[in-house]
């Protein structure tokens, strides 16, 4: 990962101190994570919704 991309991501996430104190760790972590992002599927159809893990409350707790 290029230094300017590391800097951009660090700034976006508020990690300037992390970058100053542990620059090699941050570069390595972001590079590894970016490689995973590149392996996410790119052929998802608009109908493919996210998995929903939060469950609806029981009927008795819903407003009438």
């Amino acid at each position: 990962m290029q230094d300017d991309e590391t800097l951009r991501l660090a700034r976006r996430a508020g990690l300037e101190r992390y970058l100053a104190d542990h620059p090699e760790q941050l570069r390595a972590a972001l590079a590894s994570a970016s490689a995973l992002r590149d392996r996410l599927p790119r052929d998802l159809s608009p109908a493919e919704e996210p998995a929903h893990v939060y469950r609806a409350r029981a009927n008795k707790e819903q407003p009438r």
């Binding site: 990690l15 101190r17 542990h22 994570a33 996410l40 919704e49 998995a51 469950r55 409350r57």
Partner: protein, 465 residues
């Protein structure tokens, strides 16, 4: 008295119920054992002798007055130290939380104590359930007694080690990418990740909300079923908790496997990856044994292992970074090096990446259910390698991701890891059994049949007495 250390929960409960074993004597015995052994194995972050003795005395007084709360009455247990016990620090094995005293107990802790269990201590973990084994934290990492100086797996490492050394008969762990099943595999014990929503996570420090599970860890299958029985149930204040019936997990545990259909997922560990030859042979031998017991074991294919791994890791990193972002930004030096690096990766993802991973998750769940249609359960690998030396950082880093546990955090299905033999060097090997949603009872039925026939039960690490 040594045998007390290795009794099952059921055997111990029978002795307590018959007034042949006092909860106070048992607790004192295990506290002495912990004092003697733990300086070597580091299973505990914090031993709680006063709390444990008070609970044991209360349990004994109730018994003497004729009352009994059942199997767990007077039973010593331990909590992974991301699980709250009121008034006691939940450190998450981290300098950041060294003085983080819990205001209230976790739901699972309340269930244990209400049932009369005796919480003996808080157990080692990887820092925030992700960074380990680490040697730069306020407490040392737990060490696997199998092999003498090996990695015990993680992140519920202290739970696995406390059971494998006979310091406790039961413990709780948590599992976000395999953290109950990894130490179960490495330490030669039984660990269950139940269906997502089966066990409340309230009062447990999160790693990744949509992947976190609390699970029981024991030395045998039937004990594990009993502990899951106690832990299970709807919690309306846990947004991931499901309002579903809780069956009797031990009712059909000894019904055998004759006529059951088991899908054998070999490609995870002999194709997508290649497991250590002794591990590979152990899983194939387990398949053969289940066939000999009357199961119809057939090879099936799920999606490639790498797809589940990518999905799990992007979701985990995104959710974990959301939790740790403030501390990573303001005090990164207070984390150990491994947790600091593993927790920050989520900064690389934007909202669309996270949503894409959740959409991928829905696709993988559907594909997994379709592949399992017509089968009662899946047999596959848990770990691909036996435990490496704990002080060999490269070996630990190499084998840590070589596993087939993450798929079932992605799908939320119940999955159990259990012993399946030993290497020629005496290190535990393991299998993983996976069920349909809410079908933990089927997993226990298959696991129990395998356990009874395989003959691995009762082995103890050499040199631990």
């Amino acid at each position: 008295m040594t045998d007390l250390a290795w009794l099952s929960v059921r055997e111990t409960a029978a002795l307590i119920g018959a007034r042949k074993l006092s909860p106070v004597e048992l607790t004192d015995y295990l506290l002495r054992r912990i004092e003697r052994l733990d300086p070597r194995w580091h299973a505990f972050i914090r031993v709680l002798p006063e709390h444990a003795r008070a609970a044991a005395r209360a349990a004994e007084a109730e018994l003497m007055a004729g009352g009994s709360r059942g199997v767990w009455h007077g039973m010593p247990v331990g909590l992974k130290d991301i699980i709250d016990l009121a008034g006691v620090p939940t450190t998450c094995h981290s300098k950041l939380f060294a003085d983080h005293k819990a205001a209230a107990s976790a739901v699972v802790t309340e269930k244990l104590e209400t049932a009369g269990a005796v919480v003996v201590g808080k157990l080692s973990t990887h820092e925030f359930a992700i960074g380990g084994p680490s040697f730069d934290l306020p407490w040392p990492p737990a060490v696997n007694p199998w092999g003498g100086n090996n990695f015990p797996g993680g992140s519920s490492s202290g739970s696995g080690v406390a059971l494998a050394t006979g310091m406790l008969p039961a413990a709780l762990g948590t599992d976000t990418g395999g953290s109950v099943r990894n130490p179960a595999s490495m330490c030669g014990i039984v660990g269950m990740k139940p269906t997502y929503g089966r066990v409340s996570r309230r009062g447990v420090f999160p790693l990744a909300f949509s992947l976190d599970h609390v699970g029981p860890m024991t030395r045998d299958v039937a004990d594990n079923a009993l502990l899951l029985q106690l832990l299970s149930g709807h919690d309306p204040l846990d947004p991931g908790s499901a309002d579903v019936p809780v069956p009797d997990f031990t009712a059909g545990i000894d019904c055998g496997v004759k006529g059951l259909r088991i899908g054998h997922v070999r490609h995870f560990y002999d194709g997508d990856e290649t497991a250590h030859p002794e591990q590979l042979a152990a899983i194939d031998a387990a398949a053969d044994l289940l066939r000999s017991l009357g199961a119809d074991v057939r090879e099936i294919r799920l999606r490639p292992l790498d797809e589940y791994t990518v999905c799990n890791r992007v979701i985990l990193a995104s959710e974990a970074f959301s939790i740790h972002r403030r501390d990573l930004a303001s005090r990164p030096g207070d984390y150990g090096a491994l947790a600091r690096q593993r927790l920050v990766g989520g900064a690389a993802y934007d909202a669309a990446d996270y949503v894409d991973a959740l959409r991928m998750r829905a696709r993988l769940i559907a594909a997994t259910h379709e592949a399992m249609a017509g089968y009662d359960a899946i047999l596959t690998a848990s770990s691909f390698d036996p435990a490496p030396p704990i002080d060999d950082a490269e070996a630990c880093a190499r084998v840590y991701p070589r596993q087939a546990r993450q798929p079932f955090n992605v799908t939320g299905q119940p999955a159990l890891a259990m012993p399946a033999g030993f290497t020629k060097d005496g290190l535990p090997l393991s299998i993983q059994l996976v069920g349909h949603d809410w079908q933990e009872a089927m997993i226990y039925r298959i696991a129990y049949a395998y356990e009874q026939a395989a003959g691995w039960l009762g082995r103890r690490p050499p040199g631990v007495d």
